[in-house]
């Protein structure tokens, strides 16, 4: 009786962790869609860059989790490389934007340039 109960709870734990993996992938996809929406509607160029950075970080998560769920090979190398490239790209674009004043000031009220 106790053995059967232990087997049942073990199977239900595997079921729970598998579905939690699917739920986590769906949550990451939903967050990526929200970041994409901010990149589209973002009033300043900094908002778009923030959304792109957040999208890249969530892409790393999606490659790691989804690769494990689908049984890919060496997806973690790609995720690691993507994290590095995402960081370097964000820093490069931010250094480029740091002291530049864009020509059009569309739809923003906070800037007092």
């Amino acid at each position: 009786m106790s053995c059967a109960k232990a087997r049942w709870s073990g199977a239900s734990a595997v079921w729970a962790s598998d579905h939690m993996l699917t739920a986590a992938i769906l949550a990451v996809l939903l967050t990526m869609m929200m970041a994409l929406a901010r990149a589209v509607i973002g009033p300043t160029e900094y908002d778009r860059m923030l959304a792109a950075n957040s999208f890249g970080t969530k892409t790393v998560l999606l490659i790691a989790l989804g690769g494990h769920a689908l049984g890919w090979h060496s997806h973690l190398d790609i995720a690691l490389l993507y994290a590095m490239v995402n960081f370097v790209g964000s820093i490069a674009v931010m250094r480029f934007f740091e002291y530049s004043r864009p020509q059009d000031e569309t739809g923003e009220t906070e800037r007092n340039a």
Binding site: A13, V28, T44, M49, E110
Partner: protein, 113 residues
């Protein structure tokens, strides 16, 4: 042992997915660029290690665990750095944080008086 690992993995994945969605909602709904940096940076820094630890608890004992640890270390190092760089770039680019008593009208802006 496997039961405990599966339950812990499901718990970590659930918490990480919830935090990820929270960061996405904050990225869309917060009113200011600096508060959006705050939401995105903080949530990425906690949600990514939670999701990846939940992934590590499901994986076999191999070299891939070390790669996931590398990804966690890289994200923990680069995500606050990128958030700081974006906030600094926006501040130097002329964007100002919205104060609590900011009415939004230009004649009430104390930096222009």
């Amino acid at each position: 042992m496997s039961l405990v690992l599966d339950l812990l993995s499901g718990l970590f994945l659930l918490l990480g997915g919830f935090l990820s969605i929270t960061g996405g909602v904050g990225l869309i709904r917060l009113p200011d660029f600096f508060s959006r940096v705050h939401a995105s940076g903080l949530n990425e820094t906690l949600a990514t290690p939670l999701l990846l630890i939940g992934l590590m608890l499901q994986m076999d004992w191999s070299l891939d665990l070390l790669k996931v640890l590398f990804i966690i270390a890289l994200v923990l190092a680069t995500s606050p750095t990128a958030a700081h760089a974006m906030a600094k770039a926006a501040l130097h680019g002329g964007l100002r944080p919205r104060a609590a008593d900011d009415t939004g009208r230009p004649e009430d802006d104390p930096s222009k008086a």
